[in-house]
Symmetry: C2
Subunit: 119 residues, 2 copies
Amino acid sequence: MADDDEHLDTAFLALADPVRRRIIARLSRGPATVNELAEPFAITKQADSKHIQGLELAGLVTRTRDAQRRPVHLNPARLEALTAWIDRYRLVREGQFRSLDAVLQSQAAERGTQAKDSS
Amino acid sequence: MADDDEHLDTAFLALADPVRRRIIARLSRGPATVNELAEPFAITKQADSKHIQGLELAGLVTRTRDAQRRPVHLNPARLEALTAWIDRYRLVREGQFRSLDAVLQSQAAERGTQAKDSS
């Protein structure tokens, strides 16, 4: 639980930055080197490396030791773990809205029947 | 785009905390007051209020002005916006893996045919 919590903390924190989200978007189209990733964002290679380190720590991207030349890859499994966490609670809540709708509809139908009976 | 980015920053940041995630989990089962939310987490009402303010700012929960007594509600639509953002890039990447698999399989099949032809 503590481990899971730490992973989720790091991963959600990593996504809470527009440059890191744009790096994710770029990597979804295929691996890229640190240089290739720095270019479109008008940031220094140093700033870019730091963002990639943040994403790597969160498990959202992977790269080899030779960080300057080897491409960075997106880790879709880690992204899926985040949507799984969010969807677990979203779907419970939406399920309850649907149940409430069903109750209201059946009550309305019942009232309709009662109104007909008493007319 | 800047607006969207700011919303995503705030929302992902709000989820990067274990107490706030537990509040989301609790609210998925139904609305709760600030007092009810503070109790199971062994935190002060003040700390709890601050966490709820963070979630409210991110649009993940809603509550009325009379914050001490009115229940806090989960906003599943906002959670869905986050999964939509993540899934957009995850699915592009996974689609590419599937395409690559298909290419490798067709190449392997071709090699199999060539091997048979030359035998």
